[in-house]
């Protein structure tokens, strides 16, 4: 892996978009030497992963590459064996998950994790109640319902929603925290083409209108091509490639790891 992009100094690491435009953007998320070992298995190996403000990044890689582990290390669901995580200039490595969320990070898990026993309105209330009270809370809840496209189903129990609607609700809940960076773990897995388009529109809209940066783990290359500014390929716990969708698609080494030329981690 001598040609990996993470060999660069994080301070000078730039996205291809930056290189093209020369615009200096701020790094909001940076991991340094991040390593996670489970017994004898190294799931994440010395990863330096940076995300710029307002960027829409996709994280891809074969099964077992360490994508979800990396996200869980960033959100604090897992503690790293070594290395640090910085968010907006502050080290957040030792913080609890809920403290990281309060710094402006937000996550949507791989499995839809809405509260099925609560109504859609109550689901939306949970992230907002800490941030606002009274009429401001009502307004923000109405905005979140509308952004999720679920205003008409506000009083329905979340268990009665379709899989796609649950995914939309969860993205709406995560976005209602007013994050600077939203991490999405396979948001369109198991969805129909229409539902996928709906989610893609939702992501690009939130990115454009509210300047939320995204890191999206996804296997669906069409979906990745539709939304991503920039792609990071993980393989065997290491950063394998970084680049635009065209660069990644044209890279024979990336095709080789996806077709099983090497043993997966």
């Amino acid at each position: 892996m001598s040609d990996t992009a993470d060999g660069m100094d994080p301070a000078v690491k730039q996205t291809s978009a930056e290189l093209a435009t020369g615009v200096d953007t701020d790094t909001i998320l940076q991991t340094e030497g991040l390593t996670k070992r489970f017994g004898g298995l190294t799931a994440i190996d010395d990863v330096d992963f940076g995300v710029e403000a307002g960027e829409l990044r996709c994280l891809i890689g074969p099964n077992g590459a360490g994508k979800s582990t990396l996200l869980n290390l960033v959100t604090g669901a897992l503690s790293p064996s070594e290395g640090e995580v910085y968010f907006e200039g502050h080290e957040i490595t030792g913080l609890d998950p809920h403290e990281r969320i309060r710094h402006g990070l937000s996550i949507k898990f791989q499995v839809p994790s809405v509260y099925e026993d609560l109504t859609v309105r109550e689901n939306v209330r949970l992230p907002i109640q800490r941030l606002a009270a009274g009429s401001e809370r009502d307004e923000r809840m109405a905005d979140a319902l509308s952004a999720s496209g679920l205003s008409a189903k506000a009083d329905v129990t979340a268990s009665a929603l379709s899989h796609g609607e649950q995914q939309q609700l969860e993205i709406g809940m995560a976005a209602s925290l007013d994050p600077d960076l939203l991490l999405l773990d396979e948001p369109v897995a198991g969805l129909s083409v229409d539902e996928r388009t709906e989610i893609a529109d939702r992501i690009t809209q939130l990115n454009a209108e509210r300047d939320i940066a995204f890191v999206v783990i996804e296997h669906d290359t069409d979906f990745v091509a539709e939304i991503a500014d920039h792609i990071t390929v993980l393989h065997q716990g290491e950063t394998f490639r970084e680049g635009s969708i065209e660069e990644i698609e044209a890279d024979p080494e990336v095709q080789r790891i996806y077709l099983g030329g090497e043993t997966d981690a």
Binding site: D96, H98, Y115, L118, R130, A160, A174
Partner: protein, 323 residues
Amino acid sequence: MAIGLDLLVQFFPNFASIVLAATGLAIIFGIMGVINLAHGEFIMVGAFSTSLAYNGGIPFLPIDALPGLSRLIGAMLFAALVTALFGLLVERTIISGAVPNWISERTLGRPVVTPLYDRLLDSMVATWGLSLIMVQTFRNVFGNSLSGVPIPFGELSYGNSSIGLYQVLLAGVAAFVLIALYLVFVRTDYGMRARATIQNESMAQSLGVNTERTYMATFALGSGLAGLTGALYTPLLSIEPGLGSVFLVDAFVAVVVGGSSVVVGTLLSGGLLGIVDTLFSNVYGTFAGRIALLIVAIVLIRFIPQGLSSLVERLRERRLEVD
């Protein structure tokens, strides 16, 4: 007619006793997955605190100087607060292990205690140990009994019988506690956080909920309710270190029969078990009442293992499907 009235009046104290004994245990079990076998001893803390406060046993706290009923109410509220704070101490040291872990991380560089949340059997063993320590400590410190507290309000006469008005009023307090808990869990921000934490803790954290603080508040609330129960029953009991065990059996049976929903489950099990206890105690005597209570509980657990509140849940789902 007279028998019907008699049974109805007798039902109130039985209902109150089961509901008040069970709510604190149900909250801690339902939200934290912790079975607190020291629940009876938390009730004992409430009763002892009430007795001490009422009889002037607490230095620098002149509750015993308050006039009339305010002396008793002041002592009871003080007892509930003391038990809630005691619960908080137990949660930080034994249940969550936060205090021993804070020390071990600074001395050994790693945590040594895994929290007891959602570890039913482990939590039973730990809290059973705590209950033994508490009973013996109270016996050593306070002796075998403390002075009691007079029963307020006098007698209520009906037909040829009479019952303490205070015992009937306790049913009103039990109903008030259930309504208040319903409002807390449905209307307040804490209630939302607690319900979210029960269903999916990591999701709650990812939405910014400090689940550790939610657990602390929940254990303090459950403990405070146990303390309130002890306080309310101080006028009716002899204040001795073993008094908690009487409540624990009723509370345990009511929680198991009621199921996971704190308010609905406790209301239904308190109602049903109260009726069974009243009927059999009146007709065949107290011992038969206890036996009947346990038989009904066994039969219900056999046929509705998820508890009575699951029946309500099923009915609600069926209605949603029809809609």
